[in-house]
């Protein structure tokens, strides 16, 4: 393949590196043969070297900053046996393995983000060699730079709202001997009405919570409600939101969430954070975000 186009185009498959890979396949080892797992993007000048020394990556590997164009991607070499396309596909179906990778990934991002603005990269972002990492930086350079400016000094707080546990089930399981079919229907009707009302209150409350908190935040993102089978929560998740807060306002925000929790009796609120701004990497209006 000849490189007939702009040599700096990072997404051009006809670049010399790929040709080098092919010819190196004969036996010589090259850096392009390794897989690199990417965790986050930072400004080159802000690369948190000290923090990175204290963590290990998803494969227990050391994580370092690979620099390019004024940015750096925090990455670590991972074995192709686990992280190449085929094996990765299989591994990710194993919830235990997935959990291990997710937690290790988060710990790297968390450590790096303690004193530095980081753009978290989506999980299982694997590049071919350091060249691949540099291509990642080059292809997203403007977006990364804009995002770093936008997210500097901000953290993410997660708020989940659950419908408060329904009152103890009425003794409807064993219909009394005297209970007639009509009584049964009446009872069921009353139960449904009560349940509908509870749901309405829950929804209204969740809306109030979101509006209040979104007004306090620089940004808000709604994630889909969490599935009971994954969360193990008995109560229904009605709001699963992320709020972008300047870090010095974290305490005030957390306090406000506590206040809301006390006010909304039909709801149970759960606060998580502070997170690196995972949910805010995409600018508003660029998909994923919902007003």
């Amino acid at each position: 393949m000849t490189d007939a186009t702009n040599v700096t185009d990072p997404t051009d498959t006809a670049d010399p590196t790929r040709t080098a890979e092919a010819t190196a396949a004969a036996g010589a080892t090259t850096a392009t043969g390794t897989l690199e797992y990417a965790y986050a993007v930072v400004r080159e000048a802000d690369a948190p070297h000290a923090a990175l020394e204290r963590v290990r990556g998803v494969a227990g590997e050391p994580v370092r900053a690979v620099r390019h164009l004024g940015l750096a991607v925090l990455a670590g070499p991972v074995p192709a046996a686990d992280f190449d396309e085929g094996p990765l596909r299989e591994r990710l179906e194993d919830l235990t393995w997935l959990e291990g990778v997710a937690r290790a990934h988060q710990q790297v991002v968390d450590a790096a983000g303690a004193d530095t603005c980081v753009i978290p990269v989506r999980m299982a972002t694997v590049c071919r060699g350091e060249e691949g990492l540099r291509r990642l930086l080059a292809s997203g350079r403007d977006r990364f730079a804009t995002a770093l400016d936008r997210l500097e000094g901000r953290v993410e707080w997660g708020v989940k709202v659950y419908a408060a546990s329904a009152p103890a089930a009425e003794p409807s399981a064993e219909p009394s001997a005297a209970s007639s079919g009509r009584d049964y229907l009446r009872r069921r009707s009353a139960q449904r009405r009560a349940s509908e009302q509870r749901w309405e209150h829950t929804e209204e409350g969740a809306r109030r919570v979101h509006e209040t908190l979104a007004a306090l935040a620089e940004g808000a993102r709604l994630h889909p409600p969490q599935d009971v089978r994954l969360s193990g929560e008995a109560d229904r998740n009605v709001l699963n939101a992320a709020y972008l807060i300047p870090h010095e306002e974290s305490e005030a925000f957390a306090h406000r969430v506590g206040e809301l929790a006390g006010l909304e009796t039909a709801l149970r609120l759960e606060l998580t954070g502070p997170w690196a701004p995972y949910s805010f990497v995409a600018a508003e209006g660029n998909g994923r975000a919902e007003p």
Partner: protein, 92 residues
């Protein structure tokens, strides 16, 4: 060897029952919803109300018994339709 086969049969039977009961539960919910709607509308005679009510009551009772017999939690009765979400709505 034969013990393993036994266990498999139990599981197969339980899974099948779970599927059957899920469908029955769906029908029960649909019928109940329909019945209550018609009661609200005043569509049914007292006699009809009574009979429908009895049927639904019996059905609910039977479902409970079957679930108990097969060690199935009523909250487990559901079918995942992928992008359409679960078959049955969340429990009240």
């Amino acid at each position: 060897m034969s013990r393993k086969l036994e266990l498999d049969q139990d599981t197969v039977e339980r899974d099948l029952m779970k599927l059957v009961l899920t469908v029955v539960e769906l029908l029960r919910q649909l019928m109940e919803r329909q019945a209550l709607r018609r009661v609200d509308q005043g569509d049914l005679t007292e006699d009809q109300e009574e009979r429908i009510g009895q049927t639904l009551m019996l059905l609910e009772d039977r479902m409970g018994t079957l679930c108990e017999r097969y060690g199935i939690k009523e909250s487990d009765l559901n079918l995942d339709l992928g992008p359409l979400g679960p078959l049955l709505p969340p429990r009240e």
